[in-house]
Structures are given as structure tokens and as C-alpha cells.
């Protein structure tokens, strides 16, 4: 338990630092802004209580908001992602269910499972985030293209980080 707390704190710190120092500065032609910190919500333990999940998502979002000077924008999207996560897990559940006390990891449930699971949540998070940023449905498809491209990059980085995490 304590072990888990320390582990996730370290992961959260690393993800936030990565996001703030590195990924916030990546902007290819205004279309691609990867938001990799969503990974924190993805890899929390399967059996985490929902209220804790929501609270952690909220806090993650607030911290990112503080660093990028956009109060409410990221936290709104992350809270939504945290709310959707249990449903995403239930819909994608493997044939024999989740093992007790396990984590949503590529190396336990397979690459395909992890991909579908993270696509669901990253897409929802990015949809909320980008439409909140624009705050209007004008130029709907322009925003949608940004969502798709950014999600693609975010997913790539998340998969990469997942490999690094297990390789260590």
C-alpha cells in the first residue's frame, strides 16, 4: 500500500515534469499538443475506489493548470477522464476478468488491450480539453483534426513510456 503510494507519487512527479518542461513546448504548427500526463490516470490500480480516482484526476489537472496558466481547463478534462475510466475498464474487460490487485498494464493484459483502453480515455480527455479550449463549436472539424493528431502523438508517447517503465 505504502509502496504503491510512493511509486505513484514518483510517476506523477515525473509525468508532470515531462509535461510541463517538455511536452508543453512541443507545438507542431498548432495542431499537435501531446498531453502525456493523462497516462497517470490510465495506470492507476484497477481496484482503486472511484472517489479517490476522481480526486486524483482533479488534483493532477489542477497542477497542470497551475503550470500552464489555464485554470479549470485541464482539470475539467481529467475529471471527465477519471469518471469515464471505470466504464472503459468494464467495456474492455478481458475474458477472465481483472486479476485482484493488478494494474492496467500492457504486460499483463497484452498490447491490443492496452491500446484500445488508452485510445478510449485519451480520446475522451482530448475531446473535452480541446473543445473547452476553443469553447465554441465554430470550426468544429478544425478542432476535431487537432484532437485526432494530438491524441495520436499522446498515444505514441504513452506507449513509449509504458515500454520504458517495464524495461526498467
Amino acid at each position: 500500500m505504502i509502496n504503491n503510494i510512493i511509486r505513484y507519487s514518483v510517476i506523477l512527479t515525473i509525468l508532470i515534469l515531462l509535461q510541463v518542461l517538455l511536452f508543453n513546448n512541443i507545438q507542431f504548427s498548432g495542431y499537435v499538443n501531446p498531453y502525456v500526463y493523462v497516462m497517470f490516470i490510465l495506470i492507476l490500480p484497477v481496484e482503486i475506489p472511484s472517489w479517490l480516482l476522481l480526486l486524483l484526476s482533479f488534483m493532477t489537472g489542477i497542477v497542470i493548470d497551475l503550470f500552464s496558466g489555464t485554470p479549470g481547463m485541464h482539470s475539467s478534462a481529467t475529471v471527465l477522464a477519471g469518471f469515464v475510466r471505470p466504464f472503459a475498464l468494464r467495456i474492455n474487460s478481458p475474458r477472465d476478468g481483472y486479476e485482484a490487485g493488478s494494474f492496467p498494464s500492457m504486460f499483463i493484459y497484452g498490447f491490443r488491450w492496452f491500446l484500445v483502453y488508452s485510445i478510449t480515455i485519451v480520446l475522451i480527455h482530448h475531446l473535452a480539453l480541446f473543445y473547452l479550449e476553443v469553447f465554441s463549436f465554430k470550426e468544429f472539424f478544425h478542432t476535431f483534426l487537432r484532437v485526432l493528431l494530438s491524441s495520436l502523438f499522446t498515444l505514441t508517447f504513452i506507449l513509449l513510456l509504458e515500454f520504458i517503465r517495464k524495461g526498467r
Binding site: 482533479f58 485554470p71 479549470g72 481547463m73 482539470s75 475529471v79 469518471f83 469553447f135
Partner: protein, 273 residues
């Protein structure tokens, strides 16, 4: 109680989610100036549309009554027109002088927003500079004084209601001509207070109170209301409660009166201050 607890336990995730999402959206709309502007703009647009819908339906329901008022008003206007025509024949005037004899311009307007429950009440009219309205014009409803315009935009005007503790109006008792100052004490929207009437004056309950025209805003003789009761206040004066003729709770069609000779008069008066 038990049901409530069950309900909370069942939907606790949803409730936490909604609370957190509410907090973030609040932060979003107050912390970012762009989002804030858009939210305010949208809500204002919606509120305006709703207000207009309510107004439209209310208009429709009151058509009969309004019609009657208009008919009476029309008759009165025709009468006064007759007077003006007669006057014209008997006086010298330039043929091109279109405002000869005319001191006041009347414009009809509708009310689009009104309050009566504050200490400082204002109402909004649906006409503005483009329709010839300006600051310091008098607003009259159903032949009873209602307020004074204090601000104009292109298509709207805001008027200070008589129900405003800053409102001062010179008023007199019609039967004997003694004048005093009319204010609102901030209590009841149906009553105003007339002060500065000396105690040797005789009058009775039910006497008419009307404007004097001393202020160069209201024309002379616009009715304000009737005396409801009175009491001695301080040394030499009465404090008279006036039952207002205008029902501020259902203001609708208003007559805005501009004084064409106001500037001329004020300029002249200015020289002797």
C-alpha cells in the same frame, strides 16, 4: 432520510464527478478572460431572448386594456391639437417655424426591464438616441409621472424610476398651488412622500398632486398621485404621503417627453446663479 442516504450511496461517484466538474467549470469561466467573455455573452443573449418572449406574451394578454388607454389618449391629443390650431390663427408666426408653439415632443416607448424592489430602481426603455431620446427627458406612464432618463445608448435608454431614493421632483397640490419636493422613502412602491408644504396650507385627503414644471424636465400639470394621509413633521411643514397614480408593477407603454426649450431656459437661468 433513509432513501436519501441510499440515493447518495448509489450515485456517489456521479455526485463527486458533478461537484468536481462544477468546480473546474467555475474556475474555467472565471479564471480565463476569453472563456469568461463567452459565457457572459451567451447567458446574456439567452436572458435577453427569454425576457423578450415573456414580454411579447405579456403584451398580447394586455392588448385590450392598452387599446382602451390608447383610445382615450388619442382623443385627448386630438383635443389639444384643436387648441393649438386655434392659437395659431390668432398669432404671428413664421411659416417655416415648424416648432412654433410646440414646447414638448412626445415619443412613445415600451419598457423592457424594470425593478421596484430595490432602494435605487431603474427601468429600461426600448428606444434610444436613434429614436430621438436623450438624457433628462421625462417619462410618463398612463398620465402619471414615472421617471427621468439618465442614460441613452443607440437603441435603449435607462431611466431613474420615481421609486429611487435619489429621485427629486418638484410637485404641487393642484387645488391651491402650493409646491414642495416629492421623494420616495424606499418603503412601498405605491406611495411617495411630499414634503416642504407649510402648515398653514389647507388641503384634504384625496387632493391631486401634480408636477410644477419648475425643473424644466416634466411639463407642468402632469399628475403624480393623490394625497393618502399626512402628518406634521418638525416645525412648520407637513409630511404628506402620496398614493402614486402610476402602478410601477405593471408599467408597460410609456410616453417620453422632451422639452425643446429646455436648453434655452437653462442657459438664461445660468446667468443669474
Amino acid at each position: 432520510m433513509r432513501n436519501l442516504l441510499n440515493f447518495l450511496a448509489r450515485f456517489n461517484n456521479l455526485i463527486i464527478f458533478l461537484i468536481l466538474e462544477g468546480i473546474t467549470l467555475y474556475l474555467l469561466s472565471t479564471g480565463n478572460s476569453y472563456h469568461n467573455t463567452r459565457v457572459v455573452k451567451t447567458t446574456r443573449g439567452l436572458a435577453y431572448r427569454l425576457e423578450q418572449m415573456v414580454n411579447n406574451s405579456r403584451n398580447y394578454l394586455r392588448l385590450r386594456e392598452i387599446n382602451q388607454v390608447l383610445a382615450i389618449k388619442n382623443a385627448n391629443l386630438l383635443n389639444s391639437l384643436e387648441n393649438v390650431m386655434k392659437n395659431r390663427d390668432s398669432l404671428f408666426f413664421s411659416v417655416r417655424d415648424t416648432i412654433h408653439l410646440q414646447q414638448y415632443v412626445h415619443t412613445s416607448a415600451q419598457i423592457v426591464n424594470n425593478t421596484i424592489n430595490r432602494q435605487k430602481n431603474f427601468f429600461t426603455l426600448n428606444k434610444g438616441k436613434n429614436q430621438g431620446l436623450g438624457v433628462d427627458m421625462a417619462v410618463v406612464a398612463d398620465d402619471g409621472a414615472a421617471g427621468i432618463i439618465v442614460g441613452c445608448s443607440q437603441n435603449f435608454s435607462v431611466a431613474m424610476s420615481l421609486l429611487n431614493i435619489d429621485f427629486r421632483l418638484s410637485a404641487r397640490i393642484k387645488s391651491n398651488g402650493y409646491f414642495g419636493s416629492l421623494t420616495w422613502d424606499g418603503n412601498d412602491y405605491r406611495y411617495a412622500v411630499l414634503s416642504e408644504i407649510p402648515q398653514h396650507v389647507t388641503f384634504g385627503v384625496g387632493d391631486t398632486i401634480e408636477t410644477t414644471g419648475y425643473s424644466a424636465v416634466f411639463p407642468e400639470g402632469v399628475m403624480i398621485g393623490t394625497i393618502n394621509d399626512f402628518e406634521r413633521s418638525g416645525g412648520d411643514f407637513y409630511r404628506i404621503r402620496v398614493l402614486l397614480k402610476t402602478d410601477f408593477k405593471r408599467l408597460h407603454y410609456l410616453d417620453v417627453i422632451g422639452n425643446l426649450k429646455r436648453n434655452e431656459r437653462l442657459e438664461l437661468e445660468e446667468q443669474f446663479r
